[in-house]
Symmetry: C2
Subunit: 308 residues, 2 copies
């Protein structure tokens, strides 16, 4: 593991992710001074009180002067404007990384705003979180055994890649490297697509309930979707839990990772259409084969998690 000592660490956005990163590195004793930049004075004050940062400022040139490492832990949509403010103040040796949940759009923002500093900008995505947010929610163990994906650029300096890798390993994370396109595709598949399926299923049940004669299914709550949902069991419950997720957040994720998500929805629809065709053909043998293969993957995953 390459040396990771940092005399000055700058965290832009001292929330759950940025704050936990600072706390995790502080615990290793590798970090000298931690400077925070953030929009909410209350949150920055709390970050100081909690000992997450040593100093807070809204002056980029003061913050970035002499900085070894800068972590952007902000909503992805703000990346471009923050990079624009950072660029003129960045020193040649400073390494910059981020924690954005989509990568191709962050890279685009970096290429159009960081100029020569792109060489030391290493795109990253820690796949960790809780339902809480803000500096208050930060804790040093957040990244223990959690995946962190780096999506290095051909412009990147190898030593910078190694240092970012080492820093996340010091936080206890399991670091994987892949291409940004692959990252966005995988996240679209394992997280964004499932949310779209859950939202659509809840809408489908709602639509269906309006086509049925509710008089036949009286409910304490009257007709409507409850007339149908009162008959549902655990399978529909599990399949729609995440349909209660934040509409604003998911609108943004959809638009940020639009191309990859579209590709996943299309591929999923082909998978579902294949099943539909087997059913149309009364092809019980193919259906059973498909169900068995799906069950095998699911059971392999469960076993894999129990091992690791």
């Amino acid at each position: 593991m390459v040396s990771s000592a940092l005399s000055k660490l700058v965290i832009i956005g001292v929330g759950l992710i940025g704050g936990s990163f600072a706390l995790a590195l502080r615990r290793t004793g590798l970090v000298g001074r931690v400077v925070g930049i953030g929009r909410s004075p209350e949150n920055m004050q709390r970050a100081l009180e909690l000992g997450i940062i040593d100093e807070q400022t809204d002056n980029f040139s003061a913050a970035l002067s002499g900085a070894d490492f800068v972590l952007l832990a902000i909503p992805v949509k703000q990346t471009a404007s923050v990079m624009q403010q950072m660029a003129p103040c960045l020193e040649d040796h400073t390494i910059v990384s981020d924690a954005g949940s989509t990568k191709q759009n962050v890279i685009q923002a970096a290429r159009s705003n960081l100029g020569k500093h792109i060489e030391r900008f290493i795109p990253a995505h820690p796949i960790a979180g809780t339902e809480f947010s803000g500096a208050e929610a930060a804790f040093p163990e957040l990244f223990q055994n959690k995946p962190v994906i780096l999506t290095p650029l051909q412009e990147n300096n190898q030593q910078a890649i190694d240092r970012v890798t080492a820093l996340w390993q010091h936080c206890g994370a399991n670091v994987s490297l892949m291409q940004a396109e692959q990252h966005d595709q995988i996240l679209a598949a394992i997280s964004h697509l499932p949310h779209m399926l859950a939202f659509s299923l809840m809408r489908h049940i709602h639509t269906l309930s309006q086509t049925l004669d509710q008089g036949l299914v009286p409910t304490p709550g009257g007709g409507g979707p409850m007339a149908v949902l009162q008959l549902a069991g655990t399978s529909l419950n599990d399949m729609t839990r995440i349909a209660a997720s934040s509409p604003e957040m998911w609108r943004d994720i959809c638009l940020e990772n639009r191309a990859a998500l579209l590709a996943q929805i299309e591929a999923y629809q082909q998978e579902l259409s294949a099943l539909q065709q087997m059913l149309a053909n009364h092809d019980g043998e193919s259906l059973q084969k498909l169900f068995s293969a799906a069950r095998a993957t699911r059971q392999e995953w469960t076993a894999f998690r129990n091992k690791s």
Copy 2:
């Protein structure tokens, strides 16, 4: 509530459902003698030991002679052949009902096998169960506050419908009446479709994992789907739990409720395509509206369950 006293109750298939029905009615003191018919001698012996039935036989005419009520609690695929054996032995006053999870096919079997006795055959579906099976698994509270759907026929005698309704109410169930077609459509939507979506999602992730350069995602377990799944969180986990369900059982359910399930898959595909179109059009406003509506239905359902 109409009187429900039964001097002789016959249970065909003394498993979790049939056994629990007998135990629940016995507890009300409304039942005289309970006779069981079943394929497995061991299970029937256990049913006797557990006091679920008073007598077991494989002779239909002996079992059905003087019977007030007969419950068929057998795999749906066996319905036709069992009804064929029952028909010649049924007395005019005997009421027959079933517990099949699909109804249009059971009704077809009844119409082609029960002759004039169709008048007193009331199709029913108790939506209750556990992961266990057999007489050993039966318990009298199984149907407490669980939905039971009756799908009466125009041939049915109203008094017979009332008696079946009353018997299930004595078991603690919430009885709804609807058309068989509507029942099959609703079950296809709230149970069968979600299973198809989960199986397809697990298959999709498996397919995707083979199109990616696994070298970039090293895993303890090597490449393959685990390379992708190791990066997944709770959303994919919830959305694929039921993909571990029995392939044989789901093959049969698909074929038994084929038409209704096909209609549900098609309607769901349209719902998903609408979302896909909004995404293709960068239409964030419509996406947010869709997600908000889905969340509202999901939250209404959660509140409804907490009330009832």
